[in-house]
Symmetry: C2
Subunit: 436 residues, 2 copies
Amino acid sequence: MIDLSGIESSLVDDRVKGMPGGLTPIALSEIGRQGWNLLREDLPLPLAVISASALAHNGAWMRRFLCRSGAAIAPHGKTTMSPQLFQRQLDDGAWGITIGSVQQLQAIRHAGVQRVVMANQLIGKRAMRYVLAELARDPDFDFYALADSEANVAQLVAAAREASIGRPLQLLVEGGILGARTGARDLETALGVARAIKAAEPYLALRGVEGYEGILRGADTADTESRVARFLDFLAEIALACAREALFAPGTVLLSAGGSTFYDMVVERFRAADLKRRFLALTRSGCYLTHDSGSYRECFATLRRRHPEVDDLGPGLEPALEVWAYVQSRPEPGKVILTMGRRDVSFDSRLPEAERWFRPAPRASAKDLRPVGPGHVVVNLNDQHCWLDIPVDSPLQVGDMVSFGISHPCTTFDKWQVICIVNESYDIISAIRTFF
Amino acid sequence: MIDLSGIESSLVDDRVKGMPGGLTPIALSEIGRQGWNLLREDLPLPLAVISASALAHNGAWMRRFLCRSGAAIAPHGKTTMSPQLFQRQLDDGAWGITIGSVQQLQAIRHAGVQRVVMANQLIGKRAMRYVLAELARDPDFDFYALADSEANVAQLVAAAREASIGRPLQLLVEGGILGARTGARDLETALGVARAIKAAEPYLALRGVEGYEGILRGADTADTESRVARFLDFLAEIALACAREALFAPGTVLLSAGGSTFYDMVVERFRAADLKRRFLALTRSGCYLTHDSGSYRECFATLRRRHPEVDDLGPGLEPALEVWAYVQSRPEPGKVILTMGRRDVSFDSRLPEAERWFRPAPRASAKDLRPVGPGHVVVNLNDQHCWLDIPVDSPLQVGDMVSFGISHPCTTFDKWQVICIVNESYDIISAIRTFF
């Protein structure tokens, strides 16, 4: 179990973005007891908030999805980097947590996460020593990293031999895609890495095969899906070849892929894999938990098309994360500038989308929220400003509040050290910390 | 003076990106006494570092530049958001510090910065109340915000009247550019705002005129410069009209413009302004202190062309900020993937540029640093990965370290909560905290 006590009791003051000026330092766990409400202007904007109900809904949806599929999940922690959300995901039945860097590993080990997949190579003297020391210190620490080159395996075995911790460093051989990111491009290279790991027993142990299909882009959706399918079959082929050569260490083999776009295909293809031994299909979506209002919303529509039976699981994923800002200027009839910039909201996938607006007033509340209507389009973000084109008859005026749906949760989360959780009335009911 | 004691004594542990795994929590001020060296792999990568000598060089250069020009600077604090660097800038003679949001104001007030220009509108009940409470609490707090609409002025005067703190909220009327960001588009609008401020005495006080020319882009450099010049003249025209109508409050008038690209033109144009009363030309460059290896390096070359006499001030600005990463994979002969992503380095202006590489070895040191040579080009960044195209005969291999020059300091600073300061040997000699 994760120990959240240090996080819950950590102090928050008004240097933290989103906290009101003049705040006497309070424990993070006290934030939900301040009686703050976003629409009453109790907090400065910009403010990122997470809907408590959407978070619970999405967690339950993924639990049902995995239950039906028989696959497991180690959600990618890089999305939220919030141990409080990891606890929720583990409570929902997650097999472990995935991370993408040594700093992320350090942060989640600090909170006591026990089973971790590092979906990356373990590189550098300092990082290797840290992992080996953690493995030596804590017998319950169950760690897996990727390897895609014999050069890296040689470095790992040298470090593991020097540390001699009495148990192996567990590795997954990574299959990759020509023209894409890390990972062995062909079966022979992958097998070379796997054999090198096998030859380095008892310092290293080959525990499975991994790949990341989310980077594939074809000419159209059908082409992309066919490339994804071929790549997943390639990963299964590597695993089968490793099994044939008896390169895997004893125990359940891990066969892992799946970002937040194609996890349905991963589950389906891996279920069909015939490794002639016990294996676990391990998906790694990080974004399902908050979902988004942009690219992942579209990905989910495509998933529903591929697998209409997911509708049996109930209503699909809902966007849980939004960012609020004030209109600070309407310098031209067709334009407003808002108090939100690229330091506050994702812009790497798509620009945010204005969704609802609100005019603060003594008795106004969530019932007074209105959709912004057509023609309100974010056209630019500076560090601290958002440019919103509006129809000349838009009601927006200086001091109005606007909510924005985001595209790509990872790059909104990493802009906030504390994020408030809200109910349907926009009462702040709790808060999470992130560690980026 | 800024109180840095709280920052220097704040604890750092291994959840903070850049700190080594297993670090027993230490005070920030202790980081420089650990004997760490980047090239000895004492710290995990990615790691952002600032060159101590380049920082000192750039500070001294700007001091000489302003001395000669007679202008003042309130460096934009949004660039670094580091009170330790603000202290250095104030020691170098800065008139005050500029910020871009209420959270930034809260963070720097926490450190005790006394004179602050908020280069933005002050919007929202919570933000207005905070500023007015700070003004009431601390008679030495000297604060200026922008106004570009009568609507905003009406909100400010209502808040100031309610708070009745006994001194005025000081405002600069903001001139803007058609098609660009905030600011009054024409003289009549600007004067309307200025008159509304004047009418709201003693709650409000008009203290000057402000604009931001850095957003202007013409067809070519000459066209851009001519637009900048016209805009600066427009700001002076607003100031002259305000002076004529006696709209300014008593005291020195502030005439402020200048990002990190055209501050030479600001100084020159404003020196020529004839306001018939005492005024201070106030520039606001935030990026001069660390400079960069990309767009600002080019801007500086253009500045030297405009004003060759700056060469009398000695060697120009030097890039002080770089990010280091490991080669984690060379999956194809012409490509390496490194342990650095868009969470670690700027990508909004340009992609980072690989500069030098280093192969860790027992007796290797800074003398073994090598330029990467031509043909090493960053072609993509994911959240946690950098894609570097390389010549097939590149020496880079798994485990090598590569340094990257960055373009746009603001968006590299905001990805690090602690940044180490290094000497020429890459010894870590101190560290700064940021507050984003």
